[in-house]
């Protein structure tokens, strides 16, 4: 039995226009981990997530979810994964409860099972009062929470969060992190991409930094933080330690 929630070997993606989004990416995320995948805009994070979740076709390499090859047994692999995408991909004319229950249906979960489960998740995420309104009536933060509810309805063992707190206020972010940390305590593995590096520093056990489609470093949070060269930060605002390591590795300092 696999000890990894996700195993990527030599993953490649070149888009039709010739853009090489991923170049020989290998990565392993242990079961139960809270893993941060960090990188600048356009580094390849969303492409990587798209390949794992089945919305992007890879051009090389392999990907296994809990030991299941996404090519040879895609249905089994996808059953384990829940995804909260970076961009809102909801039909805004659907009711909140229907969005969540229908998602369960695509996983083969009957409405009689999905409905009470959806009610509980919406309560947990503070959306229960909005269950009967169309998604277009929700605020940006509520839409983010709705996407988390939708991703959790089939009780995945592996949750992928692609910038889930973008545009979300501080209070809401904290409550979301509390909720998601609670999930990891229940054994759910989480892969997180975010530009809020102080959050990743505090929440995640392992981290990988990707730039121009290449993993430039990976390891435990302590190992990656230790890469800080101690150089004097540039003038002006200075971020946390992870932010300094991130800038050190992704910027050409020559």
């Amino acid at each position: 039995m696999s000890t990894s929630a996700l195993t990527l070997r030599n993953l490649e993606k070149t888009y039709a226009d010739g853009t090489r989004a991923l170049n020989d990416v290998s990565l392993e995320i242990p079961i139960g981990d809270f893993f941060a995948l960090l990188g600048p805009n356009g580094a390849g994070k969303t492409t990587l997530i798209g390949i794992v979740t089945g919305v992007v076709n890879k051009t090389g390499g392999s990907a296994h979810v809990f030991g299941t090859d996404i090519d040879t047994a895609p249905s089994t692999a996808r059953r384990h994964v829940g995804v909260v995408p970076q961009n809102v991909n909801i039909n805004i004319f659907e009711k909140v409860i229907d969005i969540v229950v229908n998602q369960a249906g695509y996983y083969g979960i009957a409405r009689s099972v999905a409905l009470p489960r959806a009610v509980q998740i919406l309560k947990d995420l503070g959306l229960y009062e909005k269950r009967s309104v169309e998604a277009r009536a929700l605020s940006g933060g509520m839409l983010r929470r709705l996407m988390i509810a939708r991703a959790l309805i089939h009780e995945p063992k592996f949750l992928i969060l692609d910038e889930p707190t973008a545009g979300v206020d501080v209070d809401l972010r904290r409550s979301m992190w509390d909720y998601l940390t609670g999930l990891t305590k229940q054994g759910v593995t989480i892969l997180l991409t975010t530009h809020y590096l102080e959050e990743a520093e505090q929440l995640c056990k392992h981290v990988a930094i990707i730039n121009d489609g290449v993993i430039i470093t990976k390891g435990t949070m302590a190992e990656v933080l230790a890469l800080h060269d101690g150089s004097t930060p540039r003038d002006g605002y200075t971020g946390g330690r992870l932010e300094e390591v991130f800038l050190q590795l992704t910027h050409d300092k020559s």
Binding site: T53, V56, N57, S75, N87, I92, G105, Y107, G108
Partner: protein
């Protein structure tokens, strides 16, 4: 997925889109009712009274099957084309299905079934409207239903394929405007191919919709320009070819996955 889970997924796709079709009924059912009423009025009542009988029935009875098919073809096609295109291009809500274990054939079957629901629904509405203008002759109700369902399936599959390939609104309007409408009009909606000059009669036989309209018409008046089995054979072959194409595109993710 188990067979039961596939059924749940299929039912979810159908239920969701069928609810949408019913919710926006002024957009999905009314336009065909109004347009067909105008056809029946102009070609049936006004002009038809001067034309007399065609193939042994009144002209308005002759055109009813073709006008029903015109509505069925355009509605079944536009339903799937629009749903697939908007859900992949604007809301990107197609990802809800793509990230799930739903197999490609279930996805195709779900969307095509809702296209059939709309096609058959609109066809029945137009038939009801026709009752305001003529007394319907029905020779074989089973053949009428069979051609309604299979034609809806064929053009739902066509709409699915078009929606997958389209990358702009033009992409889903070009086929209905410049391909489907001419094929339907030139497929014998308003005339019998036997009444055409031999050259144009031969050209008409290269139009697949000619066979569909004739098979459907056979169910009403018991006679057609081509044998029923030929019409049915052409329709079944096209459904099979389109189904395999739609399934292959979905399995490979062409046009759907990046």
């Amino acid at each position: 997925m188990t067979l039961y889970e596939e059924w749940v997924s299929f039912y979810t796709i159908v239920r969701k889109d069928a609810q949408r079709i019913l919710k926006i009924w002024p957009q999905t059912f009314m336009p065909s009712a109004v347009t067909s009423a105008l056809y029946f009025l102009i070609f049936g009542a006004f002009l038809g009274s001067r034309i007399g009988e065609v193939n042994g029935v009144s002209y308005i009875m002759f055109v009813v099957p073709g006008i029903v098919m015109l509505a069925v073809v355009t509605n079944a096609f536009s339903n799937t084309a629009t749903v697939i295109f908007t859900s992949k291009f604007f809301s990107r809500s197609i990802d809800e299905i793509l990230v799930s274990p739903t197999p490609p054939w279930v996805m195709v079957a779900g969307f095509v079934t809702t296209g059939i629901v709309r096609g058959v629904g609109v066809g029945l509405v137009v038939l009801v409207v026709s009752l305001l203008f003529t007394h319907l002759v029905i020779s074989n109700a089973l053949i009428i239903l069979l051609f309604l369902v299979l034609t809806s399936a064929l053009f739902s599959l066509g709409g699915f394929i078009n929606g997958v390939y389209a990358d702009s609104f033009d992409g889903i309007s070009i086929v209905p405007t410049f391909v489907l409408t001419p094929l339907v009009y030139l497929g014998g909606v308003f005339y019998s191919a036997n009444s055409l000059p031999s050259f144009w009669g031969a050209v008409t036989k290269f139009n697949p919709i000619f066979y569909i309209i004739n098979g459907f018409r056979y169910g009403f008046i018991g006679t057609a320009d081509v044998p029923l089995l030929v019409s049915l054979g052409v329709l079944l072959a096209l459904v099979l070819a389109f189904a395999v194409t739609a399934w292959y595109l979905t399995k490979k993710g062409l046009g759907l996955r990046q």
